[in-house]
Symmetry: C2
Subunit: 295 residues, 2 copies
């Protein structure tokens, strides 16, 4: 029985962490900023002294609503949530000797990796402020990783396009079903609940701190998923695609998006690998169909 604190427990990520921790029979201490101002070093530190979590999870990123375009007009809060906050948590956890994990993102990469294959944990980001153009969101996520460089107390978990079977607007499979037009691109993606399992295993197995790419094994294209949706009988909708990325940028979004494939060898070798992506997607699609979880 472990006691785990979750910062931002009532958000999309946080609520999945809460469920994952409870599934293991561990105890959860959920923090929301309206209850404890965990973004201030002093209040987080005194809360930790009082409540003594064994492990702490930062699930409180700033993603922008309804999507990352919104980060372009909320720059200071985006910087604060994604780059300043991790530095403050680091300070508190270093001081009190608490191990912790930070949810980062694979969106700090885009396109082909020089040398081929998926992007590895140690590859320098190429979709960030120092490699423009990038979205402001991706820039702040890369700065967040930079702020944690050299920290020997923390895991940096890279999530990428979360999905599962749930009727939730943050679920990638639901987005695909509801967007008017789709962009054909190849990506690594993360089954949300498996991602949480892998994060908790890092702590349970006492893995070395550092960065872990936590996406399902392999990669998919948008077209593959829409074909599987037809094959699994989730929908008979005829999906409409943008002509290309330029068409997508012109018609749909205001800031560029990352599309990339991550290498998951390190996570697999460490015992926190996730299922092959086709298996995880088809499993989610079947559950969506069975449970009528298409919203």
């Amino acid at each position: 029985m472990h006691t785990v604190a979750v910062l931002g427990y009532n958000g999309y990520l946080g609520s999945h962490f809460v469920r994952g921790i409870e599934r293991r029979g561990w105890s959860v201490l959920g923090l929301s900023r309206s209850e404890v101002n965990y973004s201030e070093v002093d209040s987080l530190s005194s809360w930790c002294r009082d409540n003594k979590p064994e492990f702490l999870i930062n699930a409180a990123g700033y993603t922008g609503k309804p999507n990352v375009d919104a980060c372009e007009s909320e720059k200071s809060e985006c910087l604060f949530g994604n780059a300043v906050l991790p530095g403050r948590i680091r300070e508190v956890c270093e001081d009190l000797g608490i191990k912790w994990g930070h949810v980062s993102s694979g969106c700090i990469y885009s396109g082909e990796r020089p040398g081929g294959g998926g992007w590895k944990e140690e590859d320098e980001p190429n979709f960030c402020f120092s490699h423009p153009p990038c979205s402001f969101y991706s820039g702040t996520k890369a700065l967040g990783e930079e702020v944690l460089e050299g920290d020997e107390n923390s895991y940096v978990w890279r999530l990428r396009i979360p999905f599962n079977e749930e009727a939730n607007r943050r679920n990638y499979l639901q987005k695909l079903l509801h967007y008017e037009n789709l962009l054909e691109a190849e990506n690594s993606i993360s089954h949300m609940d498996e991602f949480v399992e892998s994060c908790l295993k890092c702590f349970e197995l006492k893995l070395q701190p550092g960065i872990y790419n936590l996406t399902n094994q392999g990669s998919i294209t948008t077209r593959q998923i829409t074909n599987w949706m037809h094959e699994e009988g989730v929908t008979d909708k005829e999906f409409s695609f943008f002509q290309d990325e330029t068409d997508f940028m012109d018609r749909a979004v205001s800031t560029p998006r990352s599309n990339c494939v991550l290498d998951t060898t390190k996570s697999e070798q460490a015992g926190v690998g996730m299922r092959p992506v086709e298996e995880a997607v088809r499993d989610s699609l079947r559950k969506m169909k069975q449970g009528c979880l298409v919203f």
Copy 2:
């Protein structure tokens, strides 16, 4: 008689603003973070409602102690002070309709301007996260300007290497006298008290909001200043110089420094120009000598 609030009034910049405001016979409301947490939107907003400043000055940047090298190991607080804080002040001042000014820096440029001449207000920064290498400090100052883009309520005042006659370690002339070795480079520099005068005039003259380069007219090289020090009889020290920038980087500092010349045409035309740099430097050197203000 105006009422001006100064955030960070007890710092190096802030204390010069306080003196400048008092010299004009205006009323100063000084805020320090230990008294009012002006970095939180709610507390700054309620303080402004209670105290009703006509103008607000953000003199609370994060510069690193003893120098910008320290920002490399204090990344999250550097980001917070230089990029998040201006965004929060913007939010409060937009909401309450308060005009305000932010102290930015010319250090977001380095080297020659393409096309020649000094860097103009509208030139894109070239010594920042999107144009590496840069110092983390410069990166955050450029992000601070980006966060204020489009704000119709604020002045962005670019200061560069402050100097005057005072016995203060932040005074560039004192630094030159006390560093073991100097780097020969061409720069624009700002007489601290004239800078403050120009900032206050922006408000007084109701200038258009936006960016203003506030350095003394022209530029100087390090060698020119040390020669003037000899000519004015401030010291007879034989100054020692680094061989070149590589020698300087190897022996003295851990993060690159900006050296640059700013164009001051816009400020001069708007009526907030500063004296020619030689006049301002020689004047300060004479006062240092007369007052025995060499520490």
